[in-house]
């Protein structure tokens, strides 16, 4: 997970938001990192790739350098998490990523991610599906090319990332002599999203395009092998076939056999390609195996599919199926029958006697026992059993087929397109993903996988499905409806996007939503847990204070120094916080001061509203005034209701007074007369 500290430590990303604050040159240009001048008036459509549009760029420092920018589209956001690694890779067979950052895309006046690459000088290798390079008669060239491709894949593997966009239309000649080939961009869109079916391995073709996930180097090796096959053949393959048809034929014939069935690959190349294109991912050759093969050493291809075929078939929907892949496919196609087969123990029988896999049988029996005790979801049960039978395949649940590392993107798309999220919730609420990872030999499940169920169960802001996708996938931008088309790839962009997207008609809406808070929690970390807890408070003033603190903290940390629109929005939103002061005069004063504070500095709003001494004085004064008001009201009530009784009291007092007066008069008279008598 990318935390706040990591963002700051991650220089390129930190630079990203600096760049967007730089002044624009003119309407059609943008200066990235004070160096790269992107000219939106000069499109380079032949370099458009992975859904991104290419534009000419000039380097202000090295003016002779030929570079271009890919402006990523909003529909398929870029793979942000691999950008720093991609930038650091130096490989002659890979198009060099020079720089990247968020830019203001002038034609649409929105913020988009720009990837600056070195421009390939020799053009595209494949033009309209035809290869302009002939290697059919040059095995050495093929060897060099294959090792170059494997070298690139190895470079990616060393950084624990994958390319997932190796295909014929992503190959370019590096130089004008067209002697060197480079593999193009891989970061402008979801992994393997724009891959044609021919270039994807069987297991990847099963998955929905958006949910193919990052995969592993085995996927890249397969794609490289098919690309090499196309170069050898001199043209693209299976361009007219749909993805399900390609998948069906690949399953039926095997990948290499399918290509050979269309056009025979010369023997000099097919042996290497057979090793690279193996339909069992674990058996695909890596760089050293391929190198050994080219060195003339014996390298194993693994068992043939015929020798792997189970002895017994399983009868599903009237069809006899032998291979685990086929069984899984048939189980998913006939859920009700599959569920009955599982519960009746026929699947266990097949795994025991057909696959002769006792461990698998025990696992399925345990699942069946568990299911019989508490009957649950049919789809879930079939998906679980499918995971056990063919763990290399993606998970299929209802209409979704996904690899666990791709489900976050699939959920993201569903969220963005406002589709039904219930199936995703069911998946996250189940043990499917955990089970899938447990069955993988070379993959470890992410540490936060156990928290998914907790997040799903908690309906509070900052949790839920939004939290899962951002926690699980660092590539995903924040897609709050409050942002319009602004791309928000990290915490620093949130305030800027809110400020830019502010509209007068939105002023009554709160300047945050579930998506923003979940996104910030994932990017900033535990630091904002107390703020999230306040945001879930039933008291409005607590929620307002929490969001003010959060945004002020973000502004202090990441800038920009002035956010006038957001400040205006927050001022309007802060009214409940003004009301925590009891004194109406002070409330009016605060409202007046808030209206005056148009500097766009959020901490000024916080300081104004959360003045501790003023708050304490207000509380003390209020307590005193409350006492006074109570006393006065009681006194008033006593006087008003006292009437005749008080009259009586007044009369009694008057009588006492007169009595005393009379005694005094008598005594005084006596004393006066006595003294006068004595003196006389």
């Amino acid at each position: 997970m990318t935390t706040d500290e990591e963002i700051v430590a991650n220089k390129p990303e930190a630079e990203t938001q600096q760049s967007s604050s730089l002044p624009k040159l003119d309407n059609q240009k943008f200066l990235l990192k004070e160096r790269f001048e992107i000219d939106f008036s000069r499109p380079l459509s032949w370099l458009d790739n992975n859904g991104a549009k290419a534009f000419a760029v000039s380097d202000r420092i090295d003016t002779s350098r030929r570079i271009f920018a890919l402006i990523c589209c909003a529909e398929t956001p870029p793979r942000i998490s691999i950008l720093p690694y991609l930038k650091s890779i130096e490989n002659s067979a890979l198009m060099k990523l020079v720089e990247y950052g968020v830019v203001t895309f002038a034609p649409e006046n929105t913020q988009k991610m720009a990837l600056i690459y070195e421009e390939p000088l020799g053009g595209k290798v494949f033009d309209n599906g035809v290869c302009s390079m002939q290697i059919k008669d040059a095995p050495e060239k093929f060897r060099g090319l294959a090792l170059n491709f494997m070298g690139v894949i190895d470079s990616f593997k060393n950084m624990n990332i994958t390319h997932r966009a190796i295909r014929t239309d992503n190959l370019y000649f590096k130089d004008e002599n067209k002697s060197e080939i480079v593999i193009g961009d891989c970061a402008a869109a979801y992994p393997a999203y724009f891959q044609q079916p021919a270039f994807e391995a069987i297991e990847s073709l099963y998955a929905d395009k958006v949910a193919r996930g990052n995969g592993s180097d085995k996927n890249d090796i397969y794609s490289a092998a098919v690309t090499l096959a196309c170069i050898v053949l001199g043209h693209d393959i299976f361009q007219n076939l749909s993805a399900p048809e390609v998948l069906r034929q690949k399953i039926k014939k095997g990948s290499l056999a399918l290509i050979n069935s269309v056009e025979k690959i010369p023997a000099a190349f097919s042996n290497a390609l057979r090793g690279m294109m193996n339909d069992t991912p674990s058996l695909r050759w890596n760089y050293s195996q391929l190198f050994s093969f080219f060195e003339g050493k014996q390298v194993s291809y693994g068992p043939t599919s015929a020798s792997e075929r189970p002895k017994r078939a399983l009868n599903i929907n009237g069809e006899k199926v032998y291979m685990p892949h086929d069984v899984v496919y048939m189980l998913h196609s006939n859920i009700d029958e599959a569920y009955n087969l599982i519960l009746s123990g026929k699947i266990s029988d097949w795994t025991k006697n057909g696959l002769e896999n006792d461990v698998l049988t025990t696992k399925i029996d345990a699942l069946v026992k568990q299911e019989k005790n508490a009957a649950g979801n049919k789809n879930l049960m079939v998906a679980r059993v499918a995971c056990l039978i063919a763990p290399i395949l993606p998970i299929k649940f209802k209409d979704m087929t996904f690899f666990p590392d791709g489900i976050a993107k699939a959920t993201f798309v569903a969220l963005k397109e406002k589709k039904n999220l219930k199936p995703f919730v069911e998946v996250f609420d189940s043990d499917l993903i955990k089970l899938w990872y447990q069955e993988q030999e070379s993959l470890r499940s992410p540490g936060n996988i156990t928290e998914f169920r907790v997040y799903i169960m908690r309906q509070e802001i900052g949790y839920g499905i939004e939290r899962i996708i951002y926690d699980f996938d660092n590539d995903l931008p924040c897609i709050s409806p409050l942002f319009n088309d602004e791309i928000v790839i990290g915490a620093p962009q949130v305030l800027r996007a809110l400020n830019a997207a502010f509209k007068k008609e939105n002023i009554s809406l709160p300047p945050y939503d579930r998506t923003i808070i979940a996104f910030l929690r994932c990017k900033i970390g535990k630091k904002i847990d107390s703020i999230i807890s306040d945001l879930n408070s039933s008291r409005e003033e607590n929620r307002v204070a929490a969001i003010l603190h959060l945004y002020a903290m973000l502004q202090n940390k990441f800038g920009p120094a002035e956010l006038p629109n957001l400040a205006r929005w927050l001022v309007n939103f802060s009214k409940p916080l003004v009301r925590i002061y009891h004194n109406k005069k002070y409330q009016r004063y605060l409202e007046k001061e808030l209206l005056k504070s148009n500097s766009g500095k959020l901490y000024e709003i916080v300081e104004l509203l959360e003045n501790e001494s003023a708050l304490e004085k207000d509380r003390a004064d209020y307590a005193a005034v409350l006492n006074e008001a109570n006393y006065l009201a009681l006194e008033k009530n006593r006087i008003e209701n006292g009437g005749p009784k008080l009259d009586e009291e007044a009369r009694a007092s008057a009588l006492k007074l007169v009595s005393v007066l009379s005694i005094i008069a008598m005594t005084a008279s006596f004393a006066y007369n006595l003294i006068s008598w004595v003196l006389k």
């Binding site: 009891h582 004194n583 109406k584 005069k585 209020y622 005034v625 409350l626 006074e628 008001a629 109570n630 006065l632 009201a633 009681l634 006194e635 008033k636 009530n637 006087i639 008003e640 209701n641 006292g642 008080l646 009259d647 009291e649 007044a650 009369r651 009694a652 007092s653 008057a654 009588l655 007074l657 007169v658 009595s659 007066l661 009379s662 005694i663 008069a665 008598m666 005084a668 008279s669 006596f670 006066y672 007369n673 006595l674 006068s676 008598w677 006389k680």
Partner: protein, 165 residues
């Protein structure tokens, strides 16, 4: 209070009881002594009877109203003292003829009783009127203050106390 006053002023039964306990000789001696004193100090007795007429009237007419008896009595006695001490200097048996003639002294004795009566009747009313006036002004002040508090601190600051009216 009333009981206390009753004990204080209703001494005649006690006197009667004590008087009845005396033997015949003692009773006769006392009566003779009293008659003698009356004869010897006849002018004083006459002044007292005449001067204290208002008090005696109230004692008979308004027996239970001790406040009235006290106030009128005290003022009355205060007026009587002026004449009584004047008589002591020129004490003679014929003095009593002057009593009725001295109109000033008569006015003083009876006027003082009248003053006591006026004070008894009117001062409580006046006092109650003053009290009501002060209360009204106090309520006005309270209302003004409460309005100010409402203005400064909001309506909720003033508790809603139900009136018993």
């Amino acid at each position: 209070m009333k009981n206390k006053n009753t004990k204080e002023f209703d001494s005649s039964p006690q006197f009667g009881k004590s008087f009845r306990k005396l033997n015949l000789f003692q009773k006769a001696a006392l009566i003779i002594l009293f008659i003698l004193i009356c004869i010897i100090s006849f002018p004083i007795v006459l002044i007292l009877i005449f001067g204290l007429l208002p008090t005696l009237t109230i004692l008979f007419v308004d027996k239970k109203n001790y406040d009235k008896q006290l106030i009128v009595g005290c003022f009355n006695i205060a007026g009587v003292f002026f004449y009584l001490f004047g008589v002591l200097n020129k004490f003679s048996v014929g003095q009593q003829n002057d009593i009725a003639d001295n109109i000033f002294m008569t006015i003083l004795m009876l006027g003082s009783a009248a003053l006591g009566l006026v004070l008894y009747n009117e001062l409580p009313n006046f006092y109650a009127y003053l009290y009501r006036l002060v209360s009204t002004r106090r309520i006005d002040k309270i209302n003004t203050r409460l309005e100010k508090l409402k203005e400064d601190w909001g309506e909720e600051i003033v508790p809603n106390i139900p009136s018993s009216k």
